[in-house]
Symmetry: C2
Subunit: 241 residues, 2 copies
């Protein structure tokens, strides 16, 4: 019965901007734009307190076991005050995810900047970057992955991040193929999507301690698959059924 389109539909702008909090229309929208020095210590860093408290809580239990009350209490305010800053606990997670998204973008760029053209180990760097991003914010990424199921906003944001990785990976694959160091085969985008989704799932399983997961070095297993899939022999004929 819940209206599908939440009032916080401006989540698109959330890509890297501030949190999608329902702040009342900024009154100081005039010249105080560059203002960073807080004339007061209240207000703006309460938001930060919520974010930090949330990240801390998510390190010990999943989002669906954290109530808005917990979040508010962790930030030292009452439950109803919480809603002054965020529309829901999903909005908090989304805001947290925004930071990760930004960092993921930066790390990806940095990782692939080292390899000028299409050196043989470009995707190796990509895997390492992916792994680092995931690990650096384990709690947030794990929680976001869980919340994808119930929150369209988080799902969309996650997709945005993954799409970036996939596009970057596909570019590398195509460069390798152009160099002749990788055989042609299925569309590079499809291959890149499959490999990145594998990374996501395997890293999740590993960090969450799930049952079917590589027992040894996770990154090595991933690199092996990537290398084989990209540089290995082309797949055999599709077998007439």
């Amino acid at each position: 019965m819940e209206p599908t389109s939440s009032p916080t539909a401006d989540a698109a702008s959330a890509t890297a901007s501030g949190p999608a909090a329902p702040r009342p229309p900024a009154p100081s929208a005039g010249a105080s734009q560059g203002r960073r020095r807080a004339p007061r210590m209240n207000g703006d860093d309460r938001e930060r307190a919520i974010l930090e408290g949330a990240e801390r809580l998510l390190e010990e239990r999943p989002l669906h076991e954290v109530s808005v009350d917990d979040l508010a209490r962790a930030a030292g305010i009452s439950r109803s005050s919480f809603y002054f800053y965020f529309a829901s606990k999903e909005a908090v997670l989304l805001s947290l995810l925004d930071r990760v998204a930004a960092e993921a973008g930066a790390r990806r760029t940095a990782a692939l900047a080292g390899v000028t053209e299409a050196s043989p180990g470009a995707y190796r760097a990509a895997i390492a970057a992916f792994h680092e991003t995931f690990r650096a914010h384990r709690a947030v990424t794990l929680a976001a992955a869980d919340a994808r199921a119930s929150s369209p906003e988080i799902r969309a944001q996650w997709s945005r991040v993954m799409d970036g990785w996939v596009a970057e990976t596909a570019a590398v694959i195509e460069a390798e193929r152009a160099r002749g160091s990788a055989p042609p085969g299925v569309p590079a985008h499809d291959l890149a999507a499959a490999l990145n989704l594998m990374n996501e799932r395997v890293l999740y399983a590993a960090f969450a301690g799930e049952s079917p997961a590589p027992a040894g070095d996770v990154v090595e297993a991933l690199v092996a698959v990537w290398h084989g899939a990209i540089h290995g022999a082309p797949a055999p004929a599709p077998l007439p059924r």
Copy 2:
């Protein structure tokens, strides 16, 4: 607080047995054990009605948007009567998942029975079987994947199914390696885990219509990765960092 080993720890037996409903202790424990013929038409197939209604509902919306009341109503009983049959809506999904687990096992066995030893296309059959299992119960598997985040029982059952696939895959990989038609590399189990997790995630993305997903033939993309990862050249030296 939930004890890790749920009282329904016989979930292993649940592979094909009845649902883990909180039915009151069987009073007719005496000689009526073999009784199958229902003297009345009520009771036992109400359970089926719930299951069927649930599967139908899950085809149109995710589990977290289905209330116990919806489930009960779909089966033609009141909400409180529902609890006579199942402890929660997760229990219903778990029961549904049990069937899929049984079918998955059967299909896996059948798929790998065709290939006596380690014929070159054994894992291809595995992928097809996986894909079919997933597709045949799309609603249930999608819902189960979502519910994994919040329900330990479902997570455990899912793990059990995946573990089966992984073990079977690992056996095939080792056979291929023994034959000399696949090079050595990372542990077969790790490789098998990564590949099966990829399948799960990619199929989920494809069936759910998510954004980063192969655009073309999904199965072909998966086969390409499997083939390359198993039969491709061994990964290069791990690069001293």
